[in-house]
């Protein structure tokens, strides 16, 4: 009897029938399944403590863009292509500003209120166009934030071009860091969990074939409005959060960046998994910051690297890593 060795995939024997059901028999196998979610969480919780101040700020904006990207990804998976994440972001930002500036509410009230009211307000704004599909819906979402920006500029409403200043700050940068990182992780795990329930399944089905969903007796407009509210709340939270980080809210809250960068993040990271959108934000935002030293050619290099990502890994970085991780092999002894 000779002992020979052959290669075997690590997930062999763990996977049962589908990708999300596992039969775990040892700590090593549990580790294999747990590492992809536990490791990034651990890193994200330690990072705020070890980063220098400048990169702490980068982590904050990265997390914000990660949430915006997940929200975009979520809306897409329900069949709504939004080109206006800035709408949700800006509305949340201004609501927090108004609640602070005019009503003098404490920060622990302005942010939750702005989150929910922002989600609601944006939903109300977009309900009339929910029947539009694809590019028609996208155009409306693109136009709304630009329009609001101009209205604020022209009428001087909400502080006009000056914005609202002197808003309450967070007690410390660690409060900012841990709040936004926790929020990002919460959104990530909550939306992933939700999409695997029957409710999430029906939402995803709307994207694929809304007529078939309707003939299943399901009011897709009501479900889309719900999705819009959830996605809107996540972005409005970011807006409200950043208002207090900057202690200021102004027209830049409706800037195109907040609409475009989340889309780029989701595309680079890989759509449909939400972890991909997060990863995309964690690639693009720090990359953009790191290139800041280069000067004039920054945008060019940034655009080039974006193109490289999309051409080389059209499926998205996350899908690529996920596939490779599942293909990890080990040597096992076989008896002959």
């Amino acid at each position: 009897m000779t002992t020979k060795k052959r290669k075997e995939r690590l997930d062999r024997g763990i996977k049962v029938r589908s990708d999300d059901i596992f039969a775990l028999t040892s700590y090593r196998e549990m580790l294999y399944v747990a590492v992809p979610s536990v490791l990034p969480v651990a890193v994200l919780l330690i990072l705020p403590l070890i980063l220098p101040t400048y990169w702490q700020k980068v982590l904050i904006s990265t997390s914000v863009f990660a949430i915006l990207a997940m929200s975009w990804d979520f809306l897409v998976s329900v069949g709504m292509v939004s080109l206006g994440q800035a709408l949700f972001f800006g509305v949340g930002g201004y609501l927090a500003g108004v609640l602070d500036h005019h009503l003098h509410l404490p920060i622990w009230l302005t942010i939750p209120l702005a989150t929910v009211l922002g989600g609601g307000l944006c939903t109300v704004c977009l309900v009339p166009v929910l029947r539009l599909r694809g590019i028609y819906f996208a155009m409306v979402t693109l136009v709304l934030p630009l329009m609001i920006e101009r209205i604020i500029e022209a009428t001087g409403f909400l502080g006009g071009t000056e914005g609202l200043t002197g808003l309450k700050p967070f007690p410390s940068i660690y409060a900012e860091l841990y709040l936004i990182v926790a929020a990002m992780l919460l959104v990530l795990f909550a939306v992933r969990r939700m999409m695997s329930t029957d409710y999430g399944l029906v939402l995803r089905a709307i994207q694929e074939n809304d007529r078939s969903v309707m003939s299943g007796g399901i009011n897709i407009y009501y479900l889309k409005a719900q999705a819009l509210f959830l996605g809107g709340c996540a972005c409005s939270f970011c807006g409200a959060f950043m208002t207090h980080v900057y202690m200021f809210v102004g027209m830049p809250a409706f800037a195109l960046d907040y609409s475009i960068l989340p889309i780029a993040s989701a595309v680079v990271g890989g759509m449909g998994t939400f972890a991909g959108s997060t990863l995309g934000a964690f690639i693009l935002v720090p990359l953009s910051e790191a290139l800041r030293g280069i000067g004039g050619l920054r945008t060019v290099i940034y655009a080039l690297s974006l193109t490289v990502f999309i051409v080389a890994l059209p499926e998205g970085v996350f899908h690529y890593i996920q596939r490779k991780y599942k293909q990890f092999e080990r040597w096992v002894e076989v008896e002959r």
């Binding site: 029957d198 399944l201 694929e208 969903v213 003939s215 007796g217």
Partner: protein, 257 residues
């Protein structure tokens, strides 16, 4: 347009009255009227472009008619949203089969099982949707616990996709099931397994409307057929009689004359 028929003793479930719809200058459906009685299997036939699918879309609310009305169980349902019509118990299949490709076959049925109609029919509870879905697939001819049940719907063969479409109607517990060219593209063997499923539905008291091109198979199971041509009803009656009519021969089977 209602002619006396052997089924007249049964009550009318769906009544289409003088329905018209044009797209731009094209009159897709013009003044179509017919009744569907409870428990019957009505075939709707006609050459390509005669307005059959438009008619289905008009009945199920995907298109609003220019004039005329659709009455279901005595209630005017013209202009209602498709999901409202579905909730009243009218289910349909689509000519172009487009399943939820990424979902496992049985998970496709979660969508209609999620409908409030199913909840209210099950006494306010949804129950174990996965289990119900697997049972339904078995009813339409998926082998129990076979791998096809768990495969992504996008990878299923055509015959299974057609059965899946039918299962979606069953999942909604519809009283009126409209099958838009369910038989198209099916092999003789696949037909042989799906026809009994439809026959069983009728035995169980469901009402079925079948839009079909495969006349031989349809005539074997249909109680009555309506013949459309250029958007109007040119004949109506039991299959064997309808095919004897001159206008039908000319319009629809001219070459076989």
């Amino acid at each position: 347009m209602t002619s006396p028929s052997p089924h007249s003793e049964k009550s009318v479930l769906l009544s289409v009255r003088d329905l018209s719809k044009s797209f731009g200058g094209v009159k897709a459906v013009t003044g179509v009227s017919f009744d569907v009685r409870e428990g019957e299997l009505l075939g709707i036939i006609g050459p390509n472009g005669s307005g059959k699918t438009t008619l289905v879309n008009l009945i199920t609310g995907f298109i609003t008619p220019d004039s005329g009305e659709v009455v279901y169980r005595g209630r005017n349902i013209t202009g209602l949203m498709p999901y409202r019509i579905a909730r009243l118990g009218i289910a349909r299949t689509f000519q172009m089969v487009r399943p939820f490709t990424a979902l496992a076959a049985f998970k496709n049925l979660i969508v209609p099982l999620f409908s409030p109609r199913v909840k209210s029919l099950s006494g306010g509870r949804y129950g174990d949707r996965d289990a119900v879905a697997k049972d339904l697939l078995e009813e339409v001819g998926f082998e129990r616990e076979s791998s096809v049940t768990y495969k992504p719907a996008g990878s299923l063969p055509h015959g299974y996709l057609k059965r899946l479409e039918l299962a979606k109607c069953l999942a909604l517990r519809a009283d009126l099931i409209i099958l838009d060219e369910l038989f198209s593209g099916l092999s003789i063997a696949e037909l042989a397994s799906i026809v009994p499923v439809i026959e069983k539905l009728v035995v169980e008291g469901k009402t079925v409307i079948m839009i079909e091109h495969r006349l031989r198979e349809l005539f074997r199971i249909a109680n009555r057929v309506v013949v459309l041509n250029f958007g109007t009803v040119i004949a109506e009656g039991i299959p064997s009689e309808v095919m004897q009519k001159d206008e039908v021969k000319q319009a629809y089977l001219g070459s076989e004359d």
